[in-house]
Amino acid sequence: MDTLIGLLVAAPLLGAGILLTGGRRLDRAGHLLGTLLALTSFVLAAVLFADMLGKDTGRRTLTSHLFTWVPVDGFQAQVGFQLDQLSMTFVLLITGVGTLIHIYSIGYMEHDERRRRFFGYLNLFLAAMLLLVLADNYFLLYAGWEGVGLASYLLIGFWQHKPSAATAAKKAFLVNRVGDIGLSVAIMLLFTTFGSFAFSDVFPKVGQASATQHATVTGIGFMLLLAACGKSAQVPLQSWLGDAMEGPTPVSALIHAATMVTAGVYLITRSGAIFNAAPDAQTAVVTVGAVTLIFGAIVGCAKDDIKKALAGSTMSQIGYMIMAAGLGPIGYVFAIMHLVTHGFFKAGLFLGAGSVMHGMNDEVDMRKFGGLRKYMPITFVTFGLGYLAIIGFPGLSGFFSKDKIIEAAFAKGGTEGWILGTCALIGAAITAFYMTRVMLMTFFGEERWKDGRTATASPDEPSAEPAAAHSAHGAPHPHESPSSMTIPMIILAFGSVFAGGLFSINSAFVKWLEPVTGHSEGDSPVSTGTVTAGTMVVLVLGVLVAWLMYGRRPVPAVAPKGSLLTRAARRDLLQDDFNHVVLVRGGEHLTRSLVYLDHSLVDGVVNGTAASVGGLSGRLRRLQNGYVRSYAVSMLGGTAVVVAATLLMRAV
């Protein structure tokens, strides 16, 4: 069984290798190969899962050591895998959703001439993500962490001919670097403090850390949080996620909704031992989570671009998870549970959005949608189920997982618990509002795309999305997508509906993860019933307000000016402006002065040296006049000097 773990990573890696180096010969079958290898990985995962279920709770962890990567005395970096319940959960999510999105992409990317490359990148992503969650040490985890960053970069910028996509890719990469520095610093600190970066070495030692080491552990916690912020688009490193929607929609669904962006949650949960020993770092984590969940929700309310609205929602939902993870053992399990259910319904929502765009000439502005439920029944139903799941409609996935997080927030106890709980409830209300808004603007109301003003693809800026390539410009003809796209949506809709319920039967998920993450009930000042009731109230409130604003009144096709907050939210709450003023301007000033210094001082010295060497060379050259007599004289003189110097040395 152990050897299967390596194969899990190897299958998509093989796919990436073949597809990216195979050349045009593979254009016709490349997508099928990529999908097949993703499926292989999923089947292996299922086998391993079945095997794991058959074992005792205490002995479920599988480890597999492949080879020593960096064998230096005292610095042993191993390539080894550790498959426990936490990793298993992620592996199933990644390979499962990954396979579905591969299948979806076959249809979605059908008319893109670089489809083979796209599947190569997707496979690369799967391999890197699996490496990330399967690594048994931080060093290897870092390799996976950078691998998913690379895949994300390549896929956001997949339509590199669009300047916006290229810029977005660059932005994502740069912002992620900031977080990655955090992770690398954390790993270095781990190594210098504990002499190892293997999970099995570090975690027991963290518990017995001395007083001075405690400060370091807190520092490590902060650095890990920084890493999580970068990868999971949490405040203050959230600015890249909205722009990342420039990538093809399947990418948004897989990488920027369901899997990669949740790597930060994985990191914090996996490093639970460190955070448990560093309460200050935990406080920072819950703060980041709480701020982001409100922040993302507000941004989601104001966006008219359907994918960007969903991106704001993703940010907000991950905020929930990070907050839960920051609560410690009360929340780890629910963070992961929400992560899984969110993986289903958010992937489903994105695929739905992709399907809508597919039928609408790649229009993304929701103000130019409306009344689409008649034209795309399957998309409507699956998207609707995802919608109900995310707002936490009773009985659906999101209800169970989000409710648990809100409970856990209150259970933190004290003032902190009240603040966090309130934030979570407000977040739930806003979630209900913006998701209802998306739903109403897209599938209900007038058919705003009919009045001819929706010709999206102007001739001088042809749309990049491949689906548009074959459809005539002009008014769109909404239609249902092909079955390769709808089937994954239907399967994900099933997950959105039933996953949460299944996990909650008999607290199955808690029991499943408890051996890895630990679990404690906490001590809530409010009863479970009250929390659920409160959640319901804010849910109804959010939906109601949204309906009043967008359901009852016709939606204007051109966005109104809106309040100050709305305008700020449309600009991602001025995050980019803040970055621009503080970092870009400052950086520009710094680089300009450095360039000046380089030009005047450094170049001056360098060029001056070069010129003087050249001049010296020219003059010395003249000594070489070709006459033997001069040469002989110079030898004689040289000998005299050497003899004199030798004698002088003795005299000294």
Binding site: G618, Q624, T639, V642, M649
Partner: protein, 553 residues
């Protein structure tokens, strides 16, 4: 000879009982097996002379090439066999009545010289580069050395298809002298070896087929200055003998240390430190001339430019190996007790050599002169390692010499390929855009230039690193800093050639690259392989040099 002067007591007994001493004159005891590499080379060289005398002209070329290759290969095999038997390490001792040392450095350097000689034979034997003269393939050497350049006799010789096949025995004699030079264990053997390898080189320099006047001029210059430096060396030997009463290295060393019994016959001079110091300086001058150190370097550019390019390559590589070997032995065996006297002077010479070589090379416009100044700079880098005076110093210098000689041979072999109507096109402006027209040749030359510059993944980097490391550990940090600065200056002109080859527009009437026979191709390929192997996996060779780095006393 050396036996008679072997030590004080012998001379003393001669002095007192002159009449009865003839029957006690000891029979020289020669260890033929241990000297076999040298003996094989000299024997084959003699055979070569006989071939010249008794074989018909048309067979000479083939016979000489085969003879030289076989001889060099056999001698190399003998060196390997000796090393295998442990003569480089445990069984190292002094052979031939104290005249020649058989030890690690000697065997390592002899092996290197023999391989260099073997590759040089390939370039000497190349006959495809020059256009055919009267329907016959010709090599780089004059049809008849004694004919006046441009005269009737020369034309007749060319018409008759004469070739100077004597170059092969000459090469072998030079190699033979070079084999003895680093192994010489007394000053007279040192001097004889020096002359034995110098004289053939003077002749070889004069034998270019093209630009004969320039070639002859270079030979005369080399000869005059060489004779001048030999005089210094000989004078130094005399002074050292005056100081110590002996010419053997161990004997002089013992006198310096004060452990030797004094010789009453030489009471007036023995122990006179002025003699020692002046003698030491003059012997050093003789050797520094051969390695081309500043200010005794002035012959290098002129001679390197004028000599036939295959000879230049051989001379640049092998002479340096032999001369540095002798210098090492002199400084490490004879004068270790004197290091406080000679080290500062050597410091000065090394610094001047590195800086002057690198700086003057910057404005060179002829590729052969450029390589000549580059060889001056490299002599400076090697001197930095020599000065370390410890085991690491020796091993780093051995490694550097092995690495450097193959790069040099390869580089000069490439120079022979780039030709136009007037023969080799050595002016740098003619090399512009070579990379576009002949990417392979340009790339190979680029590899050699990078190795000269000491860029990582080439042997030049490993060598430079080893030498500078040894120098730094020996406490010569300023020397290392100046070495690195000179390397930076040197990198400029190496890279400039690369830029010229690859990033300039080719000239419409630019030179063409001749297609060589397998001989030159093999020489170049061997250079590239050695450069890359010693650059990518230097550890084996470093270990080998390290094992071979103990001198026998």
């Amino acid at each position: 000879m050396s036996a008679a002067l072997h030590s004080g007591p012998v001379v003393h007994s001669l002095w007192t009982t002159a009449a009865s001493s003839t029957d006690r004159f000891p029979t020289p005891h020669i260890e033929y097996a241990q000297l076999s590499p040298v003996l094989i080379i000299f024997g084959v060289a003699m055979l070569g002379i006989l071939v010249e005398a008794f074989t018909p002209r048309r067979h000479r070329y083939t016979a000489q090439v085969v003879l030289a290759v076989v001889g060099l290969a056999a001698a190399f095999a003998a060196v390997v066999a000796l090393a295998e038997k442990g003569y480089g390490t445990t069984k190292a001792h002094i052979a031939a009545m104290g005249a020649v040392a058989v030890d690690g450095p000697a065997l390592f350097l002899q092996g290197t010289i023999l391989l260099v000689g073997l590759v040089a034979v390939f370039t000497f034997a190349e006959r495809r580069l020059d256009p055919k003269a009267h329907g016959r393939h010709v090599d780089s050497f004059a049809a008849q050395g004694s004919a006046v350049p441009g005269g009737e006799q020369e034309k007749a010789a060319v018409r008759a298809g004469f070739t100077t096949t004597e170059v092969f025995p000459l090469l072998l004699f030079a190699v033979g002298g070079m084999l003895v030079f680093p192994a010489a264990n007394d000053l007279l053997t040192l001097f004889v070896a020096l002359e034995v390898f110098s004289l053939p080189l003077y002749i070889l320099c004069a034998l270019a087929r093209r630009n004969r006047l320039m070639s002859q001029e270079s030979a005369v210059k080399y000869f005059l200055l060489g004779a001048f430096s030999s005089a210094f060396l000989l004078f130094g030997i005399a002074l050292l003998y005056g100081y110590s009463g002996t010419v053997t290295y161990s004997g002089i060393s013992a006198v310096i240390d004060g452990t030797a019994p004094t010789n009453p016959a030489l009471d007036n001079t023995t122990g006179n430190d002025a003699l020692l110091l002046i003698g030491l300086a003059m012997v050093a001058v003789g050797l520094l001339f051969k390695v081309g150190a500043v200010p005794f370097h002035m012959w290098t550019p002129d001679v390197y430019q004028g000599a036939p390019t295959p000879v230049t390559g051989f001379m640049a590589a092998a002479t340096k190996v032999a001369a540095f070997g002798a210098l090492l032995r002199l400084l490490y065996v004879v004068l270790p007790g004197m290091r406080w006297d000679w080290r500062p002077v050597m410091w000065g010479v090394a610094i001047a050599t590195m800086l002057v070589g690198a700086v003057i090379a910057v404005t060179q416009t002829d590729v052969k002169r450029l390589l000549a100044y580059s060889s001056v700079a490299h002599a400076g880098f090697i001197l930095a390692g020599v000065i370390a005076v410890d085991k690491d110093g020796v091993s780093s210098v051995l490694f550097y010499l092995a690495a450097y000689s193959f790069v040099t041979l390869g580089a000069f072999a490439v120079v022979t390929l780039v030709r136009d109507a007037g023969g080799e096109a050595t002016h740098l402006s003619r090399w512009a855009g070579l990379g576009r027209r002949s990417p392979l040749v340009a790339a190979v030359f680029g590899v050699f230039l990078l190795a000269f510059a000491g860029i990582p993944l080439t042997s030049g980097f490993a060598g430079k690193f080893a030498v500078f490391k040894a120098a730094a550990q020996g406490g010569a940090m300023p020397l290392v800093i100046i070495g690195v600065i000179s390397s930076a200056v040197a990198a400029f002109f190496y890279i400039r050639v690369i830029v010229l080859m690859f990033f300039s527009e080719p000239k419409p009437d630019g030179p063409s690259v001749a297609v060589p026979s397998p001989l030159t191709s093999m020489a170049i390929a061997l250079g590239v392989v050695v450069t890359l192997v010693m650059g990518l996996a230097p550890q084996y060779f470093l270990d080998l040099a390290d094992k071979a780095s103990v001198f026998v006393r």
